[in-house]
Subunit: 274 residues, 4 copies
Amino acid sequence: VISCPDRPGIIAAVSAFLFEIGANIVASDQYSDPAVNAFFLRSEFTLDGVSERRREVEEGFGPIAGRFGMRWKLSCGADTPRVTIMVSRYDHCLMDLLWRFGRGEFRGKVTKVVSNHPDLGEAVQGSGVPYECIPVAKGKKAAAETVQIQSMAGSDLVILARYMQILSSEFLQQIGCPVINIHHSFLPAFAGADPYLRARERGVKLIGATAHYATEELDAGPIIEQDVLRVDHRYTPADLERVGRDVERVVLARAVRNHLDDRVLVNANRTIVF
Amino acid sequence: VISCPDRPGIIAAVSAFLFEIGANIVASDQYSDPAVNAFFLRSEFTLDGVSERRREVEEGFGPIAGRFGMRWKLSCGADTPRVTIMVSRYDHCLMDLLWRFGRGEFRGKVTKVVSNHPDLGEAVQGSGVPYECIPVAKGKKAAAETVQIQSMAGSDLVILARYMQILSSEFLQQIGCPVINIHHSFLPAFAGADPYLRARERGVKLIGATAHYATEELDAGPIIEQDVLRVDHRYTPADLERVGRDVERVVLARAVRNHLDDRVLVNANRTIVF
Amino acid sequence: VISCPDRPGIIAAVSAFLFEIGANIVASDQYSDPAVNAFFLRSEFTLDGVSERRREVEEGFGPIAGRFGMRWKLSCGADTPRVTIMVSRYDHCLMDLLWRFGRGEFRGKVTKVVSNHPDLGEAVQGSGVPYECIPVAKGKKAAAETVQIQSMAGSDLVILARYMQILSSEFLQQIGCPVINIHHSFLPAFAGADPYLRARERGVKLIGATAHYATEELDAGPIIEQDVLRVDHRYTPADLERVGRDVERVVLARAVRNHLDDRVLVNANRTIVF
Amino acid sequence: VISCPDRPGIIAAVSAFLFEIGANIVASDQYSDPAVNAFFLRSEFTLDGVSERRREVEEGFGPIAGRFGMRWKLSCGADTPRVTIMVSRYDHCLMDLLWRFGRGEFRGKVTKVVSNHPDLGEAVQGSGVPYECIPVAKGKKAAAETVQIQSMAGSDLVILARYMQILSSEFLQQIGCPVINIHHSFLPAFAGADPYLRARERGVKLIGATAHYATEELDAGPIIEQDVLRVDHRYTPADLERVGRDVERVVLARAVRNHLDDRVLVNANRTIVF
């Protein structure tokens, strides 16, 4: 995965390099954003002995990356990203993610579930994943976040699977890996609290969910995936929550899968999903 | 179509009345909103000689309506509501509506197209519907609206098919019939101007459209219909507009059809669509 | 829930009866199919002391039902239908159903899971529902079905949650309750075996699932619910199965919920879903 | 656009060539199908003076194409493919396509509308496109097809916008350009005649449309695009047709647009849509 300022010759240089080391490109996607003169590329290739040759490949690619000013990343299909899931009391996204990780639908492995409540500990037990309860007492969020960060050290991805506390800027800076959040509305509609209640009051005909990278500004980070389901006047608030659960878990799963497959690139406050 | 405070016996009274006059109910939908203790009913029935007997039926129903405090309306399938379409310069909703009215997809008849620009006059010509251009000079909106209201007198419905001027409260009070607007976003997201531009900036993954009754507060009236189409990072602003046109015209057509079939009831700021 | 030949006065008679016993109708849906002169009604009402008065209500309604030749059914919100789930080796529909029953998304209660394989026994354990393995040896299906029928006696609904054996006509006649099946294609496309493989070979752009009542003719029973998800040329057979799992479980859940809420009526080989 | 047997070095060779001639790749998509060892690439690039240098570029690329056994095509954004639309009596797809071509939504230009009926001549008049009626008398299809082929000579694309005659193998061989058909069902369900009627009889809950390349076997060619809309038991055959028109015209428009943008590649009987 590569992003850099756009100029002629990038693909030629990258593909010549891959050809010379003996790689075979099986899929590649490229996008250039003329508005900000940015270039984005994802190349998927096979290479015999890639695990042993990884360092050699990375060193060989260094000068090319330098020449074009690239941010880049090489992942192997055999890599196993370490994932932490944070939850509060709702279990639908959590159980769905654990089931999908268990089936091998995602690259990576859930190393821990962290919650500010003990409630879901029992539900997680069957999966064999450690469950850690770190309570967040009123007025003591900073202390709790320090414990959280230590507990989640080494994560390659944190998933907020309906974690109901707002994370501070400090947390997001120190956690050291991307954080994906699921918001239970079609953002930017109904950012903030109680979106289903407000959706019902506004009388919308579709209920949505949005998976996005968490940033300092609440519910304003780059959107990875969104979807909606149809509702009508007969839906009570409980019905909206029920339908919402169905769309939340699917949207979050798609976002996590695309992220773990290195298909999501951030371009300013938007995402490119190859 | 009936709405009234909810209490036992309404359906019994209505259906007994319909049975006694010899009507046969072919479809009926009912909804009660416990939050506001409101009752809504739409009954579709066949009745021999309904045109001649209309007054008799209406007079017979009066006492029942009075007893339950009903707002109600009797429409005949043969009625032909008079519809005015207001446009500015975009033709996609207008052409689609004219085509659908021409095919008989809707009850009713377009009696006039009113625009603040002359541009679309030629496109309308083929349909045989009169096109009237009423320019809205800067600072002279009130005067223009007076002319518009006179010109559209007798309308049973006004459709804003991408009419780009904000109508005043006075207009909405004086026009004397429902006004349906199409907004080119998934409301309440991107209310106001330039929704596609803002959608692109926010990086949303779905583009929407919302048909709603126009009220004094801009883009805040009861929503009749909404839908979305999927977009991705490759969509330029022009692509978003193109996809948006497809979803706008379909959403507006569904709303107009349901309204003209008397399927839309307003419950506070929400709609019931039977 | 009522179905009978259509003629004037049915609603009047039913609603007068309900009014007289003191019931308050909170929702009602009616549909008449002129092609076969059939009338369908679902009325949802509140009635003080309904549990104790049930027999009285049913007896009181008898003469009306007799007069119009009705098939009818009275359910109480407090009723708890007994549900058996049949599975083979795929767990996605099963786990999703158990989770939804556990949360109270459905009326009713899963009394047993029956499988022709032992594989999913462990996964079911956490839910507390008994798991019974009834192997179906080659050429001994009739004997196995006899055991299944005894084991599931008293069920109000059987759900085939990807049960991979074809049930015989005898089974369907003797089981004595409705049987809902999920087929992993958009029927009638790809009826029978291996729909995902055939979908890929045909190059379809949408993958579907269909929930229907099982009848003697394979994959030909009345359809309750269908939905689709978009796929493209990059989807491997494994990807299609993964996407298919998502659409299967949602379609099956909607069908089961509507069935258990008595919203599904069968009209010849079609369903009416109120 | 390139397709060829897959082997290492193709992208490197193509991108080096493009770099050397001074082109800048703005978007590129690649897909390899391991099942048939096939490689597919679409590269979109800018190149100063491309119109004048076209022959030079094509000649320069020849040896590379030869080395890898490529089928390939170079299109310029300024090219204007010549499109013929064939219709019978339904106007919805035709009017929608003419409106989109008129607005510039598609590359290319409609040079003629050919019909076996005179009915739609008047509707086409406003667009300025010539309308030619070539009747197909019973038993004289071969003769009519000869006239059709002469009349449409030089077309780069033929669109069957609800043309209700089956074209012979001879026609498809002699027409000399791709033929896109819109079928009014979700293929392979309801191939052949009267799909809406059969959809209603089967009680499906979604109505679909399929755009595909016409091949000798009826309704069996490579699928370019499909979509569905939701229907329910209340939809009469006329309602299904109405909803079907909405999905047909959108599906056909997407397929035509993607084809004219050279985004559709055929891989055995499937399509790759970049």
